[in-house]
Every structure is written in structure tokens, then in C-alpha cells.
Symmetry: C2
Subunit: 329 residues, 2 copies
């Protein structure tokens, strides 16, 4: 591989000069700049990022930490969108992403996790799906050793940003739309994972709506499980005229139950995944743009890594009605 040294020799300048040209530093005349660039082009020189990282102590390497759940097509869809958005944006910003699953670090302590990331030159991490239970991750965040962007969880310190839709408002909006369209009075709300941040926020949204509209609200914990949502719907939908779910996957479980029971109840979900289109009945849902969310997360991480302070970024959401005709390709 042709190195910076070869370029320097060929162009008749010093190594440092070539480096300056490559990194667009000042203090190099237009003449030399052109000469160097010409040689770079001619020799097909490509900088060795490994060497650059070692020298500059910067890697441009970040980790995307995801919760893997191969059992459900829903989480695959969401994860792929996160991965895709992150990788594309990272390439644009000359960074690179390594994907890590929580399962890979779940039996490590904080030091081990820290070492794992640091030895690979990772300085920035995007964390998705954080719950209050994730002790190690919280310690990791608190340690201050990394710049961190959390998706859908509250900001904790100066070197941490938070990105996500307004879950309170989104849950409020979609439920309001659904009950208005169907004139519902009694809502069965199937909630998410007990310790999740988003669970609490979405719950707050539905409570706010029910108080405002004087609706009867029955809350049951579905733990983001399709099966559990199905069971809860079987048991509790008789006494309610609407099923609001904290996720699309649970909405699907609920709808499947209603189809089996052969009764009609409007169902709404949360996420906006394609899978919703396959159930055979239309449902309202909140569409989150996961690609855009993770693009923003990367941008935010880039900001943090260049020394700026953390902030809270609220992403837009839209209300949609999912049907097969719209999703088939």
C-alpha cells in the first residue's frame, strides 16, 4: 500500500506537508497543495485510518448498542432502520459504526464493558431501549468515559444527548384520533415493559387524554409481548370499546385476538412498522422515523465528540393508518 511517505518523496516535500494538505490545514501554499494532490491522485494514495487513529488518538468509531430479539419480526424492522440510518450517516461524517448487542455485554461489569469499548477505540456510544434496570449501562453513562446518545431516555449529564419523539404527546395524539373516529368511551390500554422510560411516558400520554375526555381507562402490563397482549385482549376487551397498545407488536397481538374472538374493537399501536400491514385489519399507529432518529443520533454523537455539550432533541412523529395496499412492494 502506498503511504504518505511515498507521496512526500514523489512530490518532493516533507511528510508533514502532505499530512497538512490531506487534512486541509493552513500554512501550505496553493502551489504545493496542488502538487501534492496531483501525486496523491496519481499514486492512488489512501490514508491508513489505523495509523491516523493511533497518532491522533481519535478514531471516529462509535458503537450502536441494540437490544436483539430475533423472535420478533418487529424488533428486526426497527433495529435494521437504526442500523441503516446510523451507518449511512456515519459514512457521510467519516465515522464508522460497530453494532453491539446488549446480549454481548450483559454478563460483564462496568470495567469490562468500558475496557471492551476503549480497547477498540470507541469513544461514543448510542444506546437504545434503556430501562431503569440497566445498572451497568447507567454506570457506563455516569462514568463520563464516553460520549453517549440515548434514544428514548432522559438526558442525564452534560456529555450525553437524548434523541426521540415526544412519547407523551404521540400516545395522546394517536389515542385521541382513534377514540374520536370510533366514539369510544372505555379504553383498554396495554402498556409496555415495566421499567422502560418510554413505557412511563406513553402511559402518561394516555392518562392525560382519559382525564381530559373523562374516559374510563383500564391499564394492563403487556411487557411489549405480542402473546401477552393477545391474552390481555381476550380477557379484557369485552368490557372496553377500544384497545390502545404501547407498541405495534402488541397491537397486532390484540387484533389477532379480536379476529379470533370475532368481535370488533378499534386497535391502535405505536411505532409504524410494516408488519402492521399484514394482519388483515387496518390499525392506527404512531409512525416513528427510526432511520432519521438514528441519523440524528449519529450527528448528535459527532457534536458531542467534538466537544459540544449534550442536549435533548425531539423528533417529529406522524399518525398513520396502516394497510396492506400501502406497504406491499
Amino acid at each position: 500500500m502506498v503511504s504518505i511517505k511515498d507521496v512526500a518523496r514523489e512530490a518532493g516535500v516533507a511528510i508533514s506537508t502532505v499530512s497538512k494538505v490531506l487534512n486541509n490545514y493552513p500554512n501550505v501554499s496553493e502551489t504545493t497543495r496542488q502538487k501534492v494532490n496531483e501525486v496523491v491522485e496519481r499514486l492512488g494514495f489512501v490514508p491508513n485510518t489505523v495509523a491516523a487513529s493511533l497518532s491522533s488518538k481519535k478514531t471516529g468509531r462509535v458503537a450502536l448498542l441494540l437490544k436483539l430479539n430475533l423472535d420478533t419480526s418487529a424488533s428486526d424492522e426497527i433495529n435494521m432502520q437504526y442500523i441503516s440510518g446510523a451507518i449511512h450517516k456515519a459514512k457521510e461524517l467519516q465515522m464508522d459504526v460497530i453494532t453491539v448487542f446488549t446480549s454481548m455485554i450483559e454478563d460483564m461489569n462496568v470495567d469490562e464493558v468500558t475496557n471492551y469499548f476503549e480497547s477498540q477505540g470507541i469513544r461514543g456510544i448510542i444506546i437504545y431501549g434503556l430501562t431503569t434496570r440497566d445498572k451497568v449501562l447507567h454506570k457506563l453513562i455516569d462514568s463520563g468515559r464516553f460520549k453517549i446518545v440515548v434514544i428514548d431516555a432522559p438526558m442525564v449529564n452534560e456529555s450525553t444527548s437524548c434523541v426521540g419523539v415526544d412519547h407523551v404527546k404521540a400516545q395522546y395524539d394517536i389515542a385521541k384520533k382513534t377514540i374520536t373516529e370510533n366514539k369510544c368511551k372505555k379504553i383498554l390500554y396495554i402498556s409496555g415493559e415495566e421499567n422502560g422510560y418510554v413505557t412511563a411516558q406513553r402511559l402518561e400520554g394516555i392518562k392525560k387524554l382519559c382525564e381530559e375526555k373523562k374516559l374510563k381507562l383500564t391499564v394492563r402490563n403487556g411487557g411489549f409481548s405480542e402473546l401477552r397482549a393477545r391474552e390481555l385482549t381476550m380477557r379484557f376487551s369485552k368490557n372496553n370499546d377500544c384497545v390502545v397498545c404501547a407498541s405495534d407488536l402488541m397491537a397486532i397481538g390484540a387484533m389477532k385476538a379480536l379476529i379470533d374472538m370475532d368481535i370488533f374493537r378499534p386497535v391502535c399501536g405505536f411505532d409504524g412498522i410494516i408488519l402492521m400491514g399484514y394482519v388483515g385489519k387496518q390499525m392506527n399507529t404512531v409512525k416513528q422515523d427510526f432511520v432519521q432518529i438514528s441519523e440524528t443520533a449519529i450527528e448528535e454523537l459527532n457534536r458531542l465528540l467534538s466537544g459540544e455539550t449534550g442536549r435533548n432533541v425531539v423528533m417529529p412523529h406522524t399518525l398513520v393508518r396502516m394497510k396492506y395496499e400501502d406497504i406491499i412492494r
Copy 2:
């Protein structure tokens, strides 16, 4: 961060000795080995992989090249399994994986792609979904600059391995099972992407079966598109008593069409994705274990990178009947 130098000083030995201990080289006594290990432990030393890579000119870094198609939940499922398998196995083998999408390199020429990978220290690549049309990728493979594992495509040279199920046999098996169960005589076969290697193989499988069993075979090109499969089923299923599809996604499109037309035809697919369970009707399909396939691909790449020659690895497949009850969690 504590470096090898710190360890050396603290242990009262030379840097090279520490390195030898770390890499399990011979020529270091048990006494020194223990002393060094004790200091490593005490200081919490973690080797800097960036420096190690630069020095040894080896990175343990491989690329997983995927075709992204966020429009379909099917490809997300498959891609996530590839990613998950690759990452987990890579961690086990002390390698790391960067995920790359073909969309990121599609407007580059061979040199640019080569540079893109080499500058990042990538020496091994796993390629999935190769077609005869992918000129750049073929040049990349031919260039011999990388060790390559192709999934589902024929082996081309000594430094390339191939991993995948026996598509000819799998297609033969699943179609045979389906026609036997339903006593079919006239098969509509909806084929895959025209230039894909797997398309040709699966086609060979169904042809073989139809010749053997003296069945009437109508082949139409569905290009792995759900929509196209739906349309083809609308047009051609009247004259046939069975729809065999080269992918699950197309099988779903076909089944949706049959449901809409309110006629019954057995449909079988290929892949074994969870999405199959959501359509409301059971279908036969070939289950490929994508996680295992990509784990094997990583192992294979590891073999190639340590100098061994390429080979063809045939993975097992199973025949399954997908139903909602089995996939709900």
C-alpha cells in the same frame, strides 16, 4: 489509558516481554509470565487494538456486505439474522465486523471500493445476495486483494469460500412435500431475481421435480417482489393447482392474492421467516438458519485469513409449516 509500557515498568521487565506474555509466545519463563499477568491484572491493562493493528498489520476486521431493502420486513428479518450471527461469532473469534450496505458502494468503481475497505484495514469480506450483474463485486473478488466468503453463490477462486444451503435440493424438497400433501398436478412457479445465483438453482430444483413427477410447470418471474407475485398469482393461478414461490415474501403476496380472490391453492415459500406466520393461512417453506449461516461464514473467513484455502460449505435446511401459533411470543 494504561499502556504496555506501564506494565513493563511496573513489572520490571522489558516491553517486548510483556508483549510476549500477552500473545502467549514461548521463551518466557513461568515466573515472569505470572509476574506480568499479575501486573496486567492489577493495573487493569487492556491492549490497544489500534496500535496492535498498525504494528502487526493485521486487523481482525471484516466487512459484512448486505443488500438493504427497508421496504420489506422480510429482508430486515434476514439481514438481522446475518448481522447477529456474524457479530456474535466474530466476538468469539476476537474479530470485529463492520456492516456495509451495497447502496453505499454502488456508485464506486473497483478501485474506490478497494480503497474504502483497505483504508479501514479490512481484509476479509462476506458478500450476500450476489448476482451475475454485480460487475464491481466480481472484480473485487477477482482482484485477490481480499479474502472473501460469498453466501449463496458459486466459489470462484482459491481465496474464496462459499456458504449456503443446497438450493436445488431444498426447492425440490419443499415443492415435493407440498404437491404430495395436496395431490397437485399443475404448478405455477414464481421465480426470483433474473440474475441471481439462487434463482437459477431453485429453478433447477423445481424443474427436476416436475420432470420426475411429470407435472405441468408454468414459470413466471416474480423478481422477489411481493407485489409482482400477487399479480402473477391473480393472473395464473386459475389454470394451476399449486403456487410454488422462490421466496417467502412472494409466497405471502401469492397467498394474499388467493385470499382476495377467495380461492384455495396450496402455496409454499422459501426462507422460513417469521412474517409468514402473520398472513392468516399456513404455508410450507424451507427454513434456512441465517444465524448459523453467517456464523459459519465468519468462521470460514477466519480460516481464509489464516492462510487456508477456500472451500464450499453446504448448510442444512429444514422443511416447516409456518403458523401464527408457533411464532407468537
